[in-house]
Amino acid sequence: MPGLYESLVTQSVVLGAQYALVAIGIVVLFRHTGIANFAQGEILALGGLAALEVQRAFAMSIGVQVALVVGVSLLGGAIGAVMYAVCHAPLRRAQDDLLVVVGTLAVALLLGNAFRFQYGSETHSVAPLLTDAVRFRGFAGPEIAVIALPVMLVVGWLALQRYTRAGRRLTAVAQNPVGATLCGIDVRVWFVVAWAVSSLVGALAGMLVGGLIGVRATVPLGYLIKGFIAAVFGGLTSVGGALVGGIALGAVDVFGGYYLPTAVRDIVGFALLISVLLMRPQGMFGRLTESRL
């Protein structure tokens, strides 16, 4: 029988991993483009809904599951590229940077409305990739998937950065777009890549989180905000930081929820956000950059 403390810790990790997934998507985009995608929540919903549709149509054999993962990834990447074309490219020379974020909000509205229309506002259940039958140290299958993905992403990302040419090019673009251009790198292409990867991560995340807590057409904006808070904690330019920040925020929410009265609990997260923004805006691991806003 797990003790109270262990139970809170496991809950923190599970919740934190969800926040981390949102945060990683945000950070991947921000790092390379300086843009915050306010439609990230809808992209998560997209991933979950895609899984829902596939499951309604097909039986869940291994082959179908693999195809699902691939398909959701491609879908996510495609949405990212489209968002680049619509929200980022037209405004590269414009003065009004607020419009870039407004553009992402517009996409959020469009997608959200479309999903709500089709799927209503109730929660649909989706069979997770790893079922409850799988257990490991107190974590059930779906939870394991949700925790494993951000860890894999961070490890994979760091490896890609260090050991592949593409990764080094991406880092070059993130660190110094002018320098990258002077090295013959077409930064526009890498912007598209950043958008695509960010959305791909979001869609996959949505699929796995859907397996855990069900899929809703309306992802509450509060969820996205938690992702932002986690990203800020970890540093908006650090992918590894996003994971740490997510877990930290999960712990704050879970432990705070247990020990603090309801009215105060949710304010704690936001109070922390304001403090971090005012005292150390680059978070734990990030670098201070100019945002495109």
Partner: protein, 245 residues
């Protein structure tokens, strides 16, 4: 192989950034661009490399008009700039910076190109695994030049490479640049330090207040002529080719 910059104008919004009559760079020569601060020299460098768009005129590389070609493609065509701010990737290692420089073009294998960079700049050799941001100013400049050389450029543009560097390092750097010139690269050298520019250049263009005012070559390429041009004297320089204001 020749780069011809003809009747070019660059604007920042409404304001004129620089107006160039004629600047040519051929293989195996160093062309200097001198002038006081704010004269438009960096603007010139940036429009040749493609970072700034031109609003009039043409830039032609060997019969090919590259005026509208995007900056990263100019690198692939062989026009590479070492920017005033060096624009290194501070969190990447020296080796990684060099490698990235070599990606866009080049026939020799990367390893041998890197070896030659280390030949030119031995200080880099012992720092290959250090992040670029931890190097001293002089080493960073050498890395920036090395990175540019990695792509085996036809035309190398240098924007005030000696700024803030100790004289011994500057001497070493110019030694490398003349060696590079002798291998057939054409160099467009933007400088404030006229001394070195005089040493190594075959032609010097003087810019002031966004305009090309004088071109010195051959017998007129003297320090006295330069001093007169810089210090605001109105009397014309004998034998120099004044450009129309």
């Amino acid at each position: 192989m020749k780069l011809v910059i003809q009747d070019v104008e660059v604007h920042y919004g409404q304001a004129l950034g620089v107006s160039i009559d004629t600047v040519e760079v051929a293989a195996g020569e160093i062309v200097g661009v001198l002038g006081p601060n704010g004269a438009g020299k960096s603007t010139l460098a940036n429009c040749v490399s493609g970072i700034l768009p031109i609003s009039a005129g043409s830039i032609i590389l060997d019969e090919r008009d590259i005026s509208r070609v995007r900056a990263h493609k100019r690198v692939r065509a062989g026009v590479v700039q070492v920017a005033q701010g060096r624009e290194l990737f501070n969190d990447l290692t020296v080796a990684e910076n060099l490698e990235l420089g070599g990606l866009p073009r080049g026939e020799e294998p990367i390893e041998s190109r890197m070896a030659r960079c280390v030949d030119y700049f031995p200080a880099l050799g012992s720092r290959m695994k250090q992040p670029a941001g931890s190097l001293s100013g002089g080493e960073q400049q050498m890395l920036a030049i090395g990175r540019a050389l990695m792509s085996e450029p036809l035309i190398l543009i240098l924007d005030e490479p000696s700024t803030g560097l100790a004289p011994a390092i500057v001497e070493h750097m110019y030694g490398v640049l003349t060696a590079v010139r002798d291998r057939g690269v054409g160099i467009l050298l933007i400088e404030q330090n006229a001394d070195w520019a005089l040493e190594v250049s075959q032609v010097i263009h003087v810019f002031e207040s966004q305009h090309q005012v004088t071109t010195l070559r051959g017998d007129t390429l003297t320090r006295a002529a330069l001093e007169r041009a810089y210090m605001g004297h109105d009397d014309p320089v004998e034998g120099a080719t004044p450009s129309a204001p």
